[in-house]
Symmetry: C2
Subunit: 409 residues, 2 copies
Amino acid sequence: MALIVQKYGGTSVGTIERIQAVAGKIKTKAERGDQIVVVVSAMSGETNRLIGLADEIEEAPSPREMDVLVSTGEQVTIALLCMALHKVGCQARSYTGGQVQILTDKAHSKARIKDINGARVKADLDSGHVVVIAGFQGVDDHGNITTLGRGGSDTTAVAMAAALKADECQIYTDVDGVYTTDPRIEPKARRLDRITFEEMLEMASLGSKVLQIRAVEFAGKYNVPLRVLSSFEEGEGTLITFEEDNVEAAKISGIAFNRDEAKLTVLGVPDQPGVAHKILGPISDANIEVDMIVQNIAADEATTDFTFTVHQNDFTQAKEILQGVAESLKAQDVLNDDSVVKISLVGVGMRSHAGIASEMFEALAKEGINIRMISTSEIKISVVIDEKYLELGVRTLHEAFGLESEGVA
Amino acid sequence: MALIVQKYGGTSVGTIERIQAVAGKIKTKAERGDQIVVVVSAMSGETNRLIGLADEIEEAPSPREMDVLVSTGEQVTIALLCMALHKVGCQARSYTGGQVQILTDKAHSKARIKDINGARVKADLDSGHVVVIAGFQGVDDHGNITTLGRGGSDTTAVAMAAALKADECQIYTDVDGVYTTDPRIEPKARRLDRITFEEMLEMASLGSKVLQIRAVEFAGKYNVPLRVLSSFEEGEGTLITFEEDNVEAAKISGIAFNRDEAKLTVLGVPDQPGVAHKILGPISDANIEVDMIVQNIAADEATTDFTFTVHQNDFTQAKEILQGVAESLKAQDVLNDDSVVKISLVGVGMRSHAGIASEMFEALAKEGINIRMISTSEIKISVVIDEKYLELGVRTLHEAFGLESEGVA
């Protein structure tokens, strides 16, 4: 008998029929003797409907009242799912975040879970109930309703799994697992049976938005085995594990990419201590997040070239700030380019395999793809290239590192 | 500085515009220096929408889960009303029933309030906040969400007023007060400035459904001055009071009526001890509620005629039960009539005025209205008459007892 926490997102419970389908799925598992905790999101569209009501009143509504408002979305789902479970003969009981209790800090709309009291849930499980919990919400020390921010239901599920020492946390979504890359770009992309937490973190932050980053971090911290599965199709999905027992098998697990990069370069800055801070300080003061940073000695060796990337939304503002900074630093010039993309190879296997980077650069060069910027970490190599080469670059690397599904290759 | 509890029903907060209008009303009062607690219902239509979702899943959903579901309706309203109050510059804070805490028994969908902890609300009032509370809901000893049944927001408001020792509990609704009778039947009906709790109970139970009976009982028990006012028009409304200082002024406060009566008579039952129980026992066993009961000695003095009224919905079933009973009791005959209505004079003044009954019967006789049944209590005289005379009967009595509005009369 296993203790499983399952999470169903808004699309999976988007209509009464889908809620009934989810109830059927849960019943099958419960009849096998597993103890099941279900975490659900609001029915798709519901959160936006509620936000729409608030928008009619106030552009910037009180975060406290916003949380009171939107947390009703999940509360509706837990009641309806319990009714559907009763209908198919499954004992079930619902809990709001406050009822569990899921204790959070006071940061309305982006609260972090501090503690979970699993006692009532455990007692219900032991008496044969399926327990259905509202995702995305909790209460602070004073009983004020808080929410964890969009996608927070994943975090609720992982946190519940950690608190209950569950055997597995299953995230049901509209994809059937984590792929080697986006199948819309590379049709030969293959579903991964397993991926490590570290790889998943890199994949998630780079745009493979299957899971919320915070949920993955949480799972890693508390050693919760996490599985991504489809709500609509049968299958084993992808297991996200904290073991690295498949290091030998593959050097590279997947290829992530990000279309939203923009590149800025300060050319010929006199090279002196603190120059990086002088350039990035004003950017950071403007709340602009910087992604890749590269600094090189320039040809004359007395100056340096400093390049970094920001989100395209922040490009114009960053450019303006940089003009001022460059003048005060007596830099030669500022270059900028928002027609770039980032492609990253991700894999814990690259730690023990030298030469991945040169293989990558060679494969891209063969196709005439010029590399604008390079950045490496323990399990990731990222390159910035011209936007027009995105699809070609992804497919080239996918083939070069043998990521195709076996049937197709 | 007064402490006022205001309650706004579903129609009063039925749209964003109306919520904004309510916020404006509250602000005016708050600026006068009053401390204000607001109890709100779900936006009109919302509770039915939620029940509709449940209906799609299960005809008889779990009462516990039903309460989890429908209680979201009021939670949405409290958040939106607080946002609207913030928008007009009023400090405001919302509470669900569970957050207050409004403690109830475990009777889901018809729970009764056991206790209210007013400490947090009082602290917020003292710090200058308007406090907005979700009506109709509470929690039991284990934190399970309960609801008080439809119209329960009135009860929440009265209970909050009692707990906070408020100066007045104001029920805002779509009528501007309690009238001497239904203005749709008698256009000269007059709004009452005051009415006693006892009169209000009789008026409410007879179909003048301005307030929930339970709320009125609650107000009487805890001496909470209750006022009914219009959400949409200015005016003083009707004060429901536990004092009888206006006894001298009027003998009769109002005329109530009920169209849903049906009359059943057992003729010529041998008169023996326990006959009433033998007739009504089987009716009561079938969960049929009996309203008026009259028993007379029949002409032969050895038998009795036994008449009672039931709701029209129960008429057919009651008739069938009575046929069997009449046979076993060797009664002469069973008569029945569902084309009857009940009209009642209500007024604490009649206690000190003899002759009200004969005045009433005389007025009806003058118009050729035959009385089928009579029942009296301390502050009420009810007659059953043929349905076709309802409007004429109400108008005749309204005039006979001088209830017209002064301007019109």
